[in-house]
């Protein structure tokens, strides 16, 4: 037994992760961060103090057993680490890449109080990537039952709910409006942050559980939620349709050619492959001087995509300051390294016409920070007489999204006054047998929260269907075959605690 680690005995510096150099990566779509090598992962795992009070677990929205999986890495039992992760998360390779760790697990890490926190996200990604490379997937023994579950939307919430219900033995069908599954993971987050192969691999794991995917199915219009429960014979339904409807500002010049939402830009590029235009037919129409309004993850993606598509000057325009920017710290940092120009405390007032219906620039106003508002962030207030023109030929809106109206238009689901689905703590909606979670309930949030919501809804759905809950940690079927002397058939889906 090694002697107890202390803050002084662990490796002091956070193990660096290889990255493409900014000058080169700013012109390609290959992944920016290259992930840990084996030795680096093991070294970083040694920095974890295995704190008895486990603050990181509480910091993680889904409560991953973080010290548990890090300990397995330390023992070089990587499959074991993967098992610990997949007790809780369906998508380690994805969450390791896109979670805002600095405000979650890493933000409360004890090591972070005196040194840089343990690189939990990088370690999670390391294990997730290894699982993909090695073809591991935690398929438990599944005893099929006669129950049928319909999932609307194939984003992280829908996939998580689908996976849990399939493990519980239900026949699960995922309906997705687009031609490819994944939700925002597919059409929103660009490949240099989250390569399509990683998304494909994680979806393939869900498919391996026996989940059927039906693409090109716009629920609400092709059939309604009510019809799913009656005519189509589904016993329960989960709605995970996301909050993808972009918001505009209703300022002058918004209809000019060259003004797009970040969703339109990213969908054209990620889902429709417009960056390969004209080899792919979908055009993009991006200019040389691009101004993106907003400073969240979506804005960072739009900025960095524009740079990679050859724009000469890419500007971030945000009415608050650097401190208030909601993007993941790593994305902001990467954007800065890549040469994005930041115009903090700048508020657009109008988009200017070049006389031919194209964008010539933006009329902006300087802001300063006043008193904190309801969100706790200091409210930006205009500086009198500070109007100025910012030259640009493309304006991208990344100021947030709203609930998609289709399910509201076509079902009797109770909605909030902003169009989100009303759901209780166990994510049951106003229709018996229909559950909902992810961005369509909370408004735009995060991948891990959506995934967690899918699992919470699955737990409630199982109770509703009279199935036993499966939230106990479990061992993969083959390894647990003799566990407690029970045959796998007898255990059904129930996860069994392995000491």
């Amino acid at each position: 037994m090694a002697k107890k680690k202390t803050i002084r005995t662990i490796p002091q510096d956070r193990t660096p992760m290889q990255e493409q150099v900014p000058e080169i990566r700013a012109r390609n779509f290959a992944e920016v961060s290259l992930g840990y090598e084996l030795a680096a992962a093991v070294r970083e795992s040694e920095r974890c103090l295995m704190c008895p009070d486990e603050p990181c677990i509480r910091g993680c929205p889904v409560g991953i057993n973080i010290p548990g999986f890090i300990a397995k890495i330390g023992e070089k039992d990587f499959h074991g680490a993967y098992d610990v992760l997949t007790d809780t998360t369906l998508l380690p390779a994805i969450c390791g890449r896109v979670c805002p760790q600095e405000t979650q697990c890493e933000g409360v890490c004890t090591v972070g109080e005196s040194l840089e926190s343990v690189a939990i996200g990088r370690l999670e990604r390391f294990v997730g990537d290894m699982a993909i490379a090695e073809g591991w997937s935690a398929v438990p023994y599944i005893e099929p039952n006669e129950l049928r579950v319909g999932i609307i939307g194939s984003g992280p919430s829908g996939m998580a709910c689908a996976a849990d219900m399939a493990k519980a033995g239900c026949k699960v069908t995922v309906f997705e409006a687009f031609q490819q599954p994944g939700g925002v993971l597919r059409y929103g987050i660009p490949e240099f942050r989250l390569p399509n192969e990683v998304v494909d691999a994680e979806i393939a794991k869900v498919a391996r559980l026996g989940v059927t995917f039906r693409m090109n199915a716009l629920v609400g219009r092709l059939f309604t939620i009510e019809q799913m429960l009656t005519d189509m014979g589904f016993d329960a339904v989960f709605v995970g349709t996301g909050a993808g409807t972009p918001v505009f500002m209703d300022i002058a010049g918004e209809s000019l050619s060259g003004v797009v939402s970040a969703n339109e830009l990213l969908t054209r590029i990620n889902l429709m492959q417009a960056r390969d235009f004209p080899a792919h037919d979908t055009p993009l129409g991006l200019g040389k001087k691009v101004a993106v309004i907003g400073a969240g993850n979506t804005a960072m993606d739009a900025l960095r995509v524009s740079l990679r598509l050859g724009a000469d000057k890419v500007m971030c325009v945000y009415r608050r300051g650097h401190e208030e920017a909601p993007a993941r710290a790593e994305e902001l940092h990467h954007a800065e390294q890549e040469g994005i120009e930041f115009h903090w405390l700048t508020n657009p007032l109008a988009i200017l016409d070049d006389g031919n219906g194209n964008v010539r620039g933006m009329l902006c106003q300087r802001m300063e920070l006043g008193e904190p508002d309801k969100s706790g962030r200091r409210r930006p207030v205009p500086v009198e007489g500070s109007d100025f023109e910012l030259e640009c030929d493309t304006v991208v809106y990344a100021i947030g999204t709203n609930a998609n109206p289709i399910l509201g238009q076509t079902s009797s689901l109770a909605l909030t006054d902003r169009g989100y689905i009303v759901a209780n703590d166990s994510l049951a909606t106003s229709i018996d047998g229909v559950f909902a979670g992810g961005d369509i309930v909370t408004g735009a949030a995060t991948v891990i929260e959506a995934m967690g919501a899918g699992r919470t809804a699955a737990a409630a759905m199982k109770r509703y269907l009279g199935l036993r809950d499966s939230t106990l940690p479990y061992a993969p079927a083959e390894r647990a075959s003799s566990l407690f002397g029970l045959a796998p058939e007898q255990r059904n889906f129930v996860r069994v605690q392995v000491a």
Partner: protein
């Protein structure tokens, strides 16, 4: 990888292909679920192959018994011309999503003028039929540039109580634009509840301006550039009554007298350069002798 995940992808087979002229063709696509769900006024998004563009096309007809959706397409650019070449009977679409958009409002209308300009005849047909089935008095007004471009006149006439056909050059029916036809109808009937006009934006604007002084409620079906058709991109935004609306989920039908047509027409030109580029490139590809080309059947 993803294809493997989608073992049940519906094949969207073309069961009938008819050519109305060398630029206009009809595709009848097998999709029983959609045939059941479709209503007049709705549209689909189609991808003809995996590298293709998603393009919106109005549901021109649906047959619940045969389980089919009918589309009428005008070959104007790369995608629609490539489809004209490749989508023969027995071929498959890569993707077809729908029915999208809010169905047209049919109930409670006693007398209606259904106006179709050129290709717009196809999308307005299911509405004319639905009005007829709902017991309304239907006046059909359809217009073409000349006699050779006429299609579906019998089909359309069969659901109308009165029927007027117009042509720019007078080679068929009355000489003049569809607004001439609307004029005749409005002068004869002072109890028209609604005019519904579908066709090129310029024709819809003309109809809207024409009916405004009569104070007749007028509906147009807007056709801005769309990407997803599900309300996620905002590319299809139009200005109606001074507000930004998304045509794919808030429409495509809107009150014509409130639509900003200039805005619509300007936004339709957004990708003109790229459209030309991709078409030129495609046409060049077609001219290479080795490339497998298929002549347009029955042009």
């Amino acid at each position: 990888m993803v294809a493997e995940v989608v073992p049940n992808a519906v094949p969207y087979e073309i069961v009938t292909r008819t050519d109305f002229s060398d630029v206009t063709y009809l595709l009848e696509v097998l999709e029983p679920d959609m045939a059941k769900a479709a209503h007049p006024g709705q549209f689909v998004m189609v991808m003809s192959h995996a590298e293709g563009e998603r393009i919106p096309l109005t549901i021109a007809d649906f047959d619940r018994e045969r389980g089919t959706i009918t589309l009428v397409v005008q070959a104007i650019g790369k995608t629609t011309r490539e489809m004209q070449r490749d989508l023969i009977q027995g071929a498959h679409l890569y993707a077809m999503v729908g029915p999208m958009g809010i169905p047209s409002h049919i109930e409670g209308v006693k007398k209606v003028i259904c106006v179709g300009g050129g290709l717009g005849v196809a999308p307005v047909y299911p509405q004319a039929r639905a009005f007829k089935e709902a017991g309304a008095y239907v006046i059909g007004v359809i217009g073409f540039r000349n006699k050779d471009l006429v299609f579906w006149e019998d089909k359309f006439e069969s659901v109308c109580d009165e029927f007027i056909i117009c042509s720019d050059d007078g080679s068929v029916g009355i000489k003049g634009l569809v607004t001439e036809g609307i004029k005749i109808a409005l002068e004869k009937h002072d109890d028209v509840d609604e005019v519904i006009a579908i066709g090129p934006p310029i024709m819809m604007r003309a109809c809207s301006q024409f009916t405004q002084p009569y104070g007749v409620h007028t509906v147009v079906s807007l056709n801005p550039i769309m990407v997803d058709g599900t309300g996620m991109c905002g590319g299809c935004r139009v200005k109606v009554d001074g507000r930004t609306r998304f045509a794919c989920v808030d429409g495509p039908d809107f009150d014509a007298h409130k639509v900003d047509f200039d805005d619509l027409m300007a936004r339709l030109k957004r990708f003109r350069e790229q459209e030309k580029q991709v078409l030129d490139r495609w046409e060049q590809g077609c001219r290479i002798p080795e490339a497998p080309t298929m002549s347009t059947p029955g042009a």
